[in-house]
Amino acid sequence: MENKLYVSSSPHFRSNNSTRRIMLDVIIALLPTSVAACVIFGFRSAVLIAVCVATCVLLEYVSRKIMKRDTTIGDLSAVVTGLLLALNLPVDINPLIAMFGCLIAIVVVKQMFGGIGMNFVNPALAARIVLLVSFPSAMMHWVTVPGQPQGAMIDATTSATPLAAKAGTYSYIDLLIGRCGGSIGEVCAIALILGGIYLVIRRVISPIIPCVYLATAALMSLAFGLDPLYQILAGGLLLGAIFMATDYTTSPVTNWGKVVYAIGCGVLTMLLRTYSNMPEGVSFSILLMNILVPHIERLTAPRTLGFVKKAKGEKK
């Protein structure tokens, strides 16, 4: 017989999972949030999203070319990064600042560390924090949105975020449907929750991280005498817990690791929200926990089937 058989190692069957399909699912899960952003903040959000996505994809392509590595834009991960970054920005940000954020995310954090799977912090989050430190006023400028409560207005065009506003200004309903100030992707809680449910159903993420993160934050709020539901719905917590903390590369792969990591995120978030002079603690907490992931993983390695502890004195 002609010698044209494939001789490869087992297994000879593969599931139809693929990186591209997973990223596509994340994009689908972010659709409700993106649509909500356009409805709440108007056409400008669509432009912001388009600018970030296009810049990220372009930068990914160019940096891979320059580093003489194969192109990876087909896996859609740059689209996800661009989308997430856009959703973390205020709507009236200067597009040049947004593009600078993309540069940080894709080139510095992702590609300089070796590309997908190699970065040790979440690219979109790292970029957001760099922008926050470099352009604090532009990054914390929240425009008013139609229908939001009068009390939340600072002046004719600016409003306070739910966490900065006086208690009682925003109702739960305001937070659920996004009648409040904030970055374009964090305001509409319902859209975020929908996306989260989709990701869990599609088995893209395990529910451990978001659930434990939110539960820890709720418990901490109770301990601090805050309203747990309000704390969960307000600010970037849902966006962070569902879409940022669950980033594969920068979260633990072991189940117990996920629990430890999520508890850490929850505790840090509430500590920062309560004690720091910056009301928003989600990004910093996740970033800090990202850095601890290798250690958490090492400490939570599962016990392999049939593993017996070596008796004392027994030689290895």
Partner: protein
């Protein structure tokens, strides 16, 4: 010691994947293949020492006549599967790439039975073990471990449970399923014999719940009056791969864990493949050694997938022709299942004792996607039934990092393929981990040699 009880439902196991079942041949009666013109019998059809031929070129042999054996403890003799003349004894290349001697027998078509073939006399355990050894039986489920060795349980091990493996979790393969349907009585009488001589009072028949007809058939016999003390029960298992792997099967049936590096007997269990146990009962009745077996021929390139009963040593090509040949150009031919089977370089090889399937696939199934970077999704971790960290093992193997491989318990990987199967980045995890294991074994050998040298 606590009274042994039968589990109502399987004990929980971790990981595993939902591989497509594709059990296309489950409802088809097996067919017997006519005697081929030539059979080729390699000297290693089992795990352990190779046999040495005891016939010469030109000798006339009969069916069931022993033609090769070895004095080593871990080995199994080989018998002529046809009557005819020994044409030549020559080296052939095995699927793994190593070259071994093989006996070529030209059949005279008469299928004369050798006068040596007569029912063995079995009065105690050691009779049984030597009879099984003479029969040339090896584990028919795929691994090919000599059954006589398995039955020789060291006296310091307390084996109280026998598990009969009908899980058959590999996609496509239905040869054990057909065995259960077609030879139910052989199975039960084989179980009765073995349990009596080994003094085992709990027999669990583990079978995946995607074979309701076989479960029903086996239950009917196991629950009938032959099973006097009600010591044999059928336990339906979840139909997830790899429930047929020994360690996973033991966990699911008894809740016990085989210690790392240990054997089933360390967990008080004896695991027997269903076809092996049925063979034992037939052998005790007829004395005909292992000269033929049932196997599944399937895959997208096969015209008419069927289970066939073939003489051992039949050329694979002829078996495929017998079931109607190829319907498209084969691009990959497997010996065994798609998850753990070996890809053959061509179809010029021969059916061996432990061979439970021949699968041939066309271009679409044969082609594997190119691997890309690991995205650390953790899917391989949740899929690993041994609860290892495949992605870390893979990295450690690439780095040839001995400490990390040991810390990650690389040797506990059973190469089941769940991790590679599920990986969205299509990484060659199993292949890389296999290299890492080989590296560890080599390191250990070097170390042992050094220690020996140092002592002198």
């Amino acid at each position: 010691m606590a009274e042994l009880s039968f589990p109502k439902k399987p004990y929980p196991t971790r990981g595993g994947v939902h591989a497509p079942h594709n059990k296309n041949t489950a409802h088809k009666q097996s067919v017997e293949m006519p005697v081929p013109k030539t059979v080729v019998l390699p000297m290693t059809q089992h795990i352990g020492a190779p046999c040495a031929p005891i016939v010469k070129v030109g000798d006339t042999v009969d069916v069931g006549q022993c033609i090769a054996k070895s004095d080593a403890f871990v080995s199994a003799p080989i018998h002529a599967s046809v009557s005819g003349t020994v044409k030549k004894i020559d080296k052939i290349t095995m699927p793994g790439g190593n070259r071994v001697d093989a006996i070529f027998i030209e059949s005279d078509g008469e299928q004369r039975v050798s006068p040596d073939v007569k029912p063995p006399e079995v009065n105690n355990l050691s009779d049984l073990i030597s009879a099984v050894r003479e029969s040339g039986l090896v584990g028919l489920g795929g691994a090919g471990f000599p059954t006589a060795v398995k039955l020789s349980i060291p006296p310091d091990k307390n084996v109280d449970t026998m598990i009969v493996n009908v899980a058959e979790c590999e996609p496509y393969i239905t040869s054990d399923h057909r065995e259960a349907l077609e030879n139910g009585w052989d199975i039960i009488s084989g179980i009765m014999t073995v349990k009596e001589f080994l003094d085992i009072h709990r027999v669990i028949i583990g079978i995946e719940n995607n074979k309701p007809d076989a479960i029903k058939a086996l239950r009917e016999i196991a629950d009938s009056s032959v099973d006097i003390g009600d010591e044999i029960r059928v336990l339906p298992l979840k139909a997830t791969y790899p429930h047929g792997a020994e360690k996973i099967l033991i966990k699911a049936c008894t809740g016990r864990e085989v210690p790392m590096g240990g054997l089933p007997s360390d967990a008080g269990c004896l695991v027997m493949n269903v076809a092996s146990i049925a063979f034992i009962s037939r052998y005790l009745k007829t004395g005909m050694p292992l000269v033929s077996r049932r196997l599944t021929v399937d895959g997208s390139a096969i015209k008419d997938p069927t289970n066939v009963i073939v003489p051992i040593g039949t050329p694979i090509k002829e078996v495929i022709e017998f079931v109607g040949g190829y319907q498209e150009e084969p691009k990959k031919i497997l010996m065994g299942g798609p998850m753990m089977g070996v890809a053959l370089p061509n179809d010029e090889l021969y059916i061996m004792k432990q061979n439970n399937a021949i699968l041939a696939f066309g271009e679409k199934e044969a082609r594997l996607a190119e691997p890309s970077a690991c995205i650390r999704c953790g899917k391989c971790v949740s899929a690993c039934p041994m609860r290892l960290l495949p992605l870390e093992l893979c990295n450690a193997s690439d780095r040839r990092d001995e400490d990390a491989l040991n810390r990650l318990n690389a040797m506990n990987c059973m190469e089941c393929g769940c991790c590679s199967f599920t990986c969205p980045a299509k990484r060659h995890l199993v292949q890389t981990i296999r290299e890492g294991k080989a590296f560890l074994i080599q390191k250990k050998r070097e170390q042992d040699a050094q220690n020996k040298g140092g002592k002198k």
